[in-house]
């Protein structure tokens, strides 16, 4: 069997990595969403101490490479606090914490773009802070943020490739194994690249669909 035939046999193996990559992205986006929403509220409405903490958090996660974060948390921070995580779990958590820093910036922008009158009207009705956030501010802010979340999706997708350094069985790890097994590198990596582009495209389509579903007529999108 020629190397190319072997390569053809391995293609499904690479494609199966998509599920792992998407799993990483899903976890990253989800965890990042929860962190991002809370921190953006803290940054906009919080007291100086909360704002300092949020600032420090985003400063750290946006100022260090993913590569460093993965190793730091996997080998030092998580073990130190008694978390014994697998490579996959570490990757999901780190991608999530990291995305949380970026998403908090996204939501902060969209929260600040909401007119003051909306909050005043909510206050005038006697809504509590959490009620204001939950029923008035976030429903508008999150809608406005969807296009940027779509962008964040494509960023995490590409970032998830870095998790191969911990040996997570996503696209890159599998592609590397295939290059070792077949001795061919160019074609497998081009295939991996094409796979990432396809996943980016599919994800963007999905976000577009969500966006057209939840968009409100007349609510200007930022």
């Amino acid at each position: 069997m020629s190397n190319l035939q072997v390569l053809a046999k391995y293609l499904p193996y690479i494609f199966d990595g998509s599920l792992w990559s998407l799993g990483l992205v899903g976890a990253g986006l989800g965890i990042g969403f929860a962190i991002g929403v809370l921190m953006s509220l803290g940054q906009v409405y919080g007291n100086p101490l909360i704002r300092k903490i949020v600032d420090a958090y985003t400063w750290f996660f946006r100022g260090t490479p993913l590569l460093v974060q993965l190793f730091l948390f996997h080998w030092s921070v998580f073990p130190a606090i008694g978390l014994r995580t697998t490579a996959l779990e570490t990757s999901m958590l780190v991608l999530g914490m990291r995305s949380g820093a970026y998403q908090s910036q996204i939501f902060r922008g969209s929260i600040e773009s909401i007119e003051e009158g909306q909050v005043l009207a909510a206050k005038a009705l006697g809504l509590s802070f959490w009620q204001q956030s939950l029923y008035v501010v976030l429903p508008q802010a999150l809608r406005k943020a969807v296009p940027q979340l779509s962008n964040e999706y494509s960023i995490i997708l590409k970032d998830s490739a870095v998790c191969f350094v911990l040996g997570v069985m996503e696209i890159m790890t599998r592609t590397r194994y295939v290059t070792i097994a077949t001795g061919i590198a160019l074609i497998p990596y081009l295939i991996a690249g094409a796979l990432y582009i396809a996943l980016t495209y599919l994800g963007a389509k999905a976000f577009d669909m969500v966006y057209s579903r939840i968009r409100i007529q007349g609510l200007v999108t930022g």
Binding site: L66, V68, S76, T175, A185, L186, Y189, G193, I197
Partner: protein
């Protein structure tokens, strides 16, 4: 040798390599990004199609994939790049694609009246782009361009994967010898933080210096 002595030696060598990598990739990716951005807007059918394809590929591929292609992939067709140059090439290809995006958006944001006024003065297409459109577009694109440079500082660490002995590689070597991940990766994190913080402070200052009344709204 003591842990910290060993670390300092390796770290400074790694830092030097990272700075070398950045001093090559940052200017080249900006220049290429501007050229490609201009081509995407003014390149005509063929030029803009080619430029758009370039961006489609190198923005679409994770940097890591491009890096693997430059180092391992090109070897398949007989092109053997040193790790340092393979990494440089990959970073330039990827970042210039992103840079071109900021440049293109900025060019398209310039009002049509500017171009009309340039033509009314008798400027040809080249003069119009060089003296009227680009000076404004580059000011508008500046925050995007500097932001991409911050990403380049962070993502240069991926060069470790193909064997460039930059900052992160020095940490990996240290950890394999001393196995003190907390101190090692914590210190490395601080090194990157100080680099990105310094860079963003410098960029803010540059943006302030280049600020012109009337361009505040553009940022």
């Amino acid at each position: 040798m003591s842990f910290w002595g060993d670390f300092l030696t390796r770290l400074s060598a790694g830092t030097l390599t990272t700075l070398e990598l950045l001093s090559i990739t940052i200017p080249l990716s900006i220049i290429l990004g501007i050229l490609i951005g201009v081509l995407r807007v003014y390149g005509g059918r063929l030029g803009s199609a080619l430029a758009n394809f370039y961006v489609f590929i190198f923005r679409g591929f994770p940097l890591l994939v491009t890096m693997m292609i430059m180092f391992f992939g090109l070897a398949d067709v007989g092109i053997m790049l040193e790790p340092f140059w393979a990494a440089s090439a990959a970073i330039i290809l990827c970042s210039s694609a992103y840079q071109s995006e900021y440049v293109k958006t900025a060019i398209l944001s310039i009002g049509k009246g500017q171009s009309l006024a340039a033509r009314a003065l008798g400027m040809n297409r080249f003069q119009e782009i060089a003296y009227v459109i680009m000076p404004q577009a580059l000011r508008t694109a500046l925050p995007g361009i500097t932001n991409e440079i911050l990403y380049m500082i962070l993502y240069s660490s991926l060069a470790y994967v193909i064997g460039v002995s930059e900052i992160f590689a020095s940490a990996m070597t240290m950890n394999s010898i001393w196995v003190r991940p907390g101190e090692i990766f914590g210190t490395i994190a601080l090194v990157y933080l100080s680099m990105t913080t310094t860079a963003s402070t410098v960029f803010k200052e540059i943006e302030n210096r280049l600020r012109i009344p009337g361009f505040e709204g553009a940022r």
